[in-house]
Symmetry: D2
Subunit: 340 residues, 4 copies
């Protein structure tokens, strides 16, 4: 079965325990001839890495990717692409105590119920470190998409951290460099407030939730497959597969619930649709958001361990990676829509 | 490919155009020996049927299901189960005009972009009538689950219609018969207000959105498959594959975003988790909600056609069906978790 | 799971019990815009039909196909294509005795072991009637292939019945009309001998095996997917999924075993490769054979029932259908080989 | 897509180019709690390794397996198991010339046609070295099967090399240690003749084909899934996915073609069925054979390179591995056959 696989055509298989030998990914279904951009791969990994700032965990992930197969002379071969990242920092003794008492909010007990035999060190495979595989695969998806559709762009950012909520519009967001803001909340004042909040939280063993919002522009019309791989359905599946997520909405999202039809349905290009109608992309910009709960490492656990007081800033590149994966899958899939 | 399939183990394939010969479903992966409850099948179909009340479309769907294969002597054979429903009422002349101008908010244009050759009559396969296949398959999933886990219960209901929002708690909801309320909003006063609102909307060519909430109790712990078929991920995929949906949340949902970790993570049984932690069911009750936008048949289209001013009441059995499908899939899948 | 499905891109799901309501197929992954050739569908079904001659079973299959979905205005819609054939002749009383004693050589007992609850009437789904679904789906695969590759041709024929073995070469075979020979063994003398042999067998309750050989010409080079969906691997899987088959070989086949490499490997176009090298088609004609054991209905069973003394003549269109299915799958799949 | 994957439940994904960084496998769907037998893994790899004797290629494969994920404290975790083997001996300069002229009988040209961009060094992924991944995965399948079904045994052996054909019966084969015979043809005289033949061939740049036969005993009845994952269909697919294979037969195999039904169908336990009836295992011993053509490295290529004059001896553990994979897949799959 494909519990650890994502995608139908451009398919990734993720493997590796947090404190095992290595994490990695195998990508099946990437066509031959994609120019492999190693710099992009490393850059994306750096963006996901812990220890980037005062508001993220100090866990030291060296994270040097090794491309094991599927790439030759700078281009993909059409064969499976395996990329591996060794686990450099395996301070598993920090986690010995977990073996005996499950951490509140974590998955220790549910995994134990399911599998009986588990790797208790740092959550094993339920650790956030698993998202590294998504960033690796998402980077290859990005290479594929950008070669086929050079105009296609994806931009994720923190749109809310705790009560601090961004109200900037899409125009402005496309102009800023999200990474210049420590919390990836691209607004100077809100970012500063968020930094203060999270630094205090780190000391106090407190944690906060937030929202990652994503814009995509120049997406081709007609992506998505009715009726069970609608673009919105695959996006929702992708996003809710990320740890700590609790909600997904696109376009007018949950607010659509309160609208009158005559106001909502103004024209076929309206932003309320979030770029998706009938489950298929319309060619208008995509707009969707994912909600994250407060990280579950709180109180003493948080102080001792090496955890983020808020996962949202580091979730931004993960959400981007999953977006590229959905895009790559459907861009290739659309080659099969019509006889010619 | 499996664009029209849902599920990994208990798998349904949906087929049929709204104004074609018939709609139907093939279920692969249903084990042999499930007692087939034809009454349940018909009852569930009746609940989804249009024309049930003054607030739903008058389209006449006879909807007599024919079990074509996979069932013998009242029990499933372990072979594919095909169930067919003829399209009795094919007034396609009503839809002739659609061929030339896409209806606002509908999928007519995105489907045309994708497939070039489309069945323009009543949306073809992008019609809400497609959800019939989900109810058929969901009913078989329900038969399977209830035979294996007699205590397992699923209850969906309208929790919001336009601005009318329910605040009753789970205890109360389990006691009521949702179908006694025309809008399936199980609260006498709110239901009456909603009926009035929707009857007026029908006359005025107006439409409204709303929310369907679902509770599940006595669900086994450990359902869901890390990391890409987490229970929440498959639920989100299932729900967002339904037409007109715009958001999904579970447990504390979007509200989790604003919480402090120390308040959020009280204990492993907390309702904020919505019965899912680490992507796996905890054994606590499930609680999730799906948002629907206002139906896109408004103004002149709505007056002429036979459409619902609010899809939420009729979406309730569809959400239930998708929930049973996710449950059946993961109940069977969990047989593969451990060596014994 | 996909026990009853064949194909990865162009995918068929087969359903239906021999003496149930109907047999049928759902095809997922057929692109939009394929011109639907109803005549071809009926013609192919006629070729598979029992009761065509003195050497086939007298079972009366009316076999009128109903295209339930996926086709509109003479072309495919890109949505699932369901085709249904009612079971007209359900003389199940003939089979009542089977409930108690499994028929030698049949699958009655193995199915019973597996599923416990089985449809004992005429083998249920293990009946040869199941191949009807393959012919339905194969016909659509043929429509697709012939529209994309008008030169592509498939020709299957009986190359051996009992000891009667054909030695004609490919050139000659392409010229004859296989269906003009009752046993589909396209050689006047051998065909006559085979007819006599099988007519006697029918009276005597005897049965015989044989071989179906297939030539394909003008097949594009590069079809097949390394390493587990090599063209030869998928062909073997397709052919061995047909009931009563016991062997598969292509090119020099089993004779290759005895060859010296220096004689075998003469040039890249050699017929010994059967049009497949490295698992991929070379562009040279395909050539493969499938062996069938004697039908298991012998002695009293055969005299009473309505069975073929040799399944090979009627297997010819089934082998062709499976060949078209493998071709359609890989022709579409090859769209994903390269970035452009 | 799953071009490089095998299995539906117990699923392996193979990756790696012959002269790239490493070869490896990811196994998805192995349940938690399988005792991991590292010795068995290494032993099986040793059996496949080149350079074992005077009749195999001298290529030096160090082949030290690294278990990267999915195993902890000596048992599987239910998470993906990644096993990696570095490519120690990358004398790719030997292969530089291949870039310009495709080797007769190899897949160089068909891969080039398909993918345009290929790794020309030693066949890249079309090299026989790819079978290493099968042996890795097959070993884990064996661990799983033997823990669940301790009596289950698989024995493959060379049953023919060139014209040298074994006629020993199953009883005798089960008693011998196949690996005591250099050619794995377990008959002293024939083995000696085969050794002489192959040593001469090595000098002369000649090559030969042969047959690998496999017996399986104590296999449970009812394995296999109708109708497209019949046990015979999956076996055929598995075997024909191995390079250089040209035929597959089971039970009476191709000889069945010539039999009379009244002689063939003696009783339900007859050896002619090869342990499979109706596509499902009967519980009787399995018996099937795979034909291999002469290796394509002949004449000057063979003298210069490091290749086997006959692949059959080294194919034996690969056929065994594929057999274990099919068994593991269907043993797990059968958990889903019935409601209880």
């Amino acid at each position: 079965m494909s519990a650890n696989s994502f995608g139908q055509i451009f398919k990734m298989i993720s493997f590796g325990e947090s404190h095992g030998v290595a994490l990695g990914v195998v990508i099946e279904g990437c066509p031959a001839g994609v120019v492999f951009d190693q710099d992009l791969l490393v850059r994306n990994m750096q963006r996901r890495r812990p220890g980037q700032s005062s508001v993220t965990t100090a866990r030291n992930e060296a994270d040097a990717p090794e491309v094991v197969s599927g790439v030759f002379d700078g281009k993909t071969l059409g064969t499976p692409i395996c990329i591996l990242v060794r686990n450099a920092d395996q301070r598993s003794q920090d986690y010995e105590s977990i073996q005996h008492s499950p951490r509140i909010g974590h998955a220790d007990d549910t995994w134990k119920t399911k599998f009986q035999h588990v790797d208790h060190r740092g959550g094993g495979r339920s650790s956030g470190r698993e998202t590294l595989a998504r960033v690796l695969a998402g980077s290859v998806a990005q290479m594929l998409c950008q070669q086929l559709l050079p105009q296609l762009q994806v931009k994720s950012f923190s749109s809310q951290i705790a009560h601090l909520q961004l109200t900037e519009n899409a125009e402005q967001i496309w102009k800023v460099n999200v990474d210049e803001y420590i919390t990836r909340l691209p607004h100077e004042k809100l970012n500063n407030e968020a930094v203060q909040l999270l630094e205090s939280a780190k000391v106090a063993g407190e944690s906060y939730g937030g929202t990652v919002r994503t814009f995509v522009k120049n997406v081709p019309a007609g992506l998505g497959q009715p009726v069970f791989h609608k673009f919105k359905s695959d996006l929702a599946s992708a996003m809710l597969s990320i740890g700590a997520t609790t909600s997904f909405e696109f376009g007018a999202g949950h607010e659509a619930v309160r609208s009158k039809g005559t106001e909502f349905h103004q024209d076929l290009q309206s932003a309320v649709y979030g770029g998706i109608r009938g489950g298929l992309t319309t060619g208008e910009p995509l707009d969707f958001s994912v909600g994250f709960k407060p990280t579950s490492s709180i109180k003493d656990t948080a102080k001792k361990g090496r955890h983020d007081p808020c996962i949202v800033p580091r979730a931004v590149p993960v959400v981007e990676a999953m977006t590229w994966l959905v895009l790559a899958d459907h861009v290739l899939w659309s080659r099969l829509d019509r006889i010619r």
